[in-house]
């Protein structure tokens, strides 16, 4: 591939990353685990290859996929916020129900539960987002390389055949060559 010519990576990564992040952020659909992000990386490379005339290398795929992964992490985090609030409310109700049966539970059950559902502070939240972005970037890069393997190669254009030279057979021989 030409070194100067690079595929457009941001828009494909934005579209595919947003889709993958949205799908992985929804609780029921999230059961496919990291596959959404790997799929997002593949989709980003597919979109990039459509607008790029040359072949995409595995390195191009890794870069585009990693970018899609980072975008997916941000989108996923944003989408997860309302669901986390919902989960916290459900957990609160569950704890209230537990309290009715507290005599049958171990002495430190409340401590165990609170330890388990402790809400992170904003600082922890952003640190978690950075780590998630790193994890997503790796998974997206894997998907991007797979995508480059799938969609990166364009069929080679047919080799241009030399046009027939009109009257070539009529060219008189140079007498000096004989």
């Amino acid at each position: 591939m030409n070194q100067q010519q690079k595929p457009e990576s941001f828009i494909p990564a934005l579209i595919a990353g947003a889709a993958a992040g949205a799908l992985s952020g929804v609780p029921l659909l999230g059961c496919l685990c990291c596959l959404w992000i790997i799929g997002g990386g593949m989709l980003a490379v597919h979109l990039a290859s459509k607008s790029f005339p040359g072949n995409l290398t595995a390195g191009d795929g890794a870069l585009i996929g990693a970018l899609a992964g980072v975008i997916a992490a941000v989108v996923d985090t944003l989408i997860s916020i309302p669901f986390q609030a919902l989960n916290a409310e459900l957990m609160q109700r569950l704890m209230e129900r537990f309290a009715e049966y507290s005599a049958d539970l171990p002495g430190n059950w409340r401590e165990i539960m609170e330890r388990g559902i402790g809400q992170p502070s904003p600082g922890w939240f952003f640190l978690g987002l950075v780590i998630s972005a790193a994890i997503f970037a790796v998974l997206g890069a894997v998907g991007g390389v797979i995508g480059a393997s799938l969609f990166g190669k364009k069929p080679a254009p047919p080799a241009p055949s030399a046009p027939p030279v009109q009257g070539a057979t009529d060219v008189p021989k140079d007498p000096s060559h004989s």
């Binding site: 685990c33 990291c34 330890r115 994890i135």
Partner: protein, 172 residues
């Protein structure tokens, strides 16, 4: 002075070592999350929340350490352990320094058990135990390093023309 081919080879080994370190840190953090939770160390919530977007983290589908689930489910644990196994197999298969990923056929073959198990669970045909989930995840994880390393090599080993050979871009 090192020849370009030798320089690329050293670089390829460095990329491999860094990736191997990364997956080891990754796996260690999965195990540290339940350990920290059992000791009441707050760092546990950071690790759990960092892995939450990549996994449903359902406790009944996760392995447990110190009485608490790992930071990801059994299937994801299998994928990451399989990734480590694949990384260890890379030097044995002389795939260090390859810049071209394998063809898509091995990926399809390796993905089939995972896809079949996930689909069967989703459709209610059968319900896999945690070890089957781990197994299909493990199998799938073993193929991934060959793609990731090819991508990283392609990114960082661009300078200098690569010579032909098993370690420089030939397909498996």
């Amino acid at each position: 002075m090192l020849k370009p081919g030798m320089k690329n080879r050293t670089k390829a080994w460095r990329i491999y070592a860094l990736t191997l370190t990364g997956i080891l840190v990754w796996l260690t953090s999965l195990g540290l999350a339940p350990y920290f939770r059992s000791r009441g160390i707050r760092l546990n919530s950071l690790i759990y929340s960092a892995f939450a977007p990549t996994c449903h983290q359902i406790p009944s589908r996760s392995f447990h350490i110190c009485g608490f689930p790992l930071a990801v489910c059994g299937r994801c644990t299998g994928i990451y352990v399989g990734f480590l196994a694949g990384m260890l197999a890379v030097p044995l298969l002389k795939a260090i320094g390859r810049t071209r990923p394998p063809t898509i056929l091995p990926l399809i073959v390796w993905t089939f058990p995972l896809a079949a198990d996930a689909a069967a669970n989703f459709l209610g045909i059968w319900s896999s135990g945690i070890w089957l989930r781990f197994g299909v995840g493990f199998l799938w994880g073993t193929i991934l390093p060959f793609y990731l390393l090819a991508g990283l090599n392609s990114l960082f080993l661009r300078e200098g023309p690569e010579k032909s050979g098993r370690e420089t871009g030939s397909r498996p």
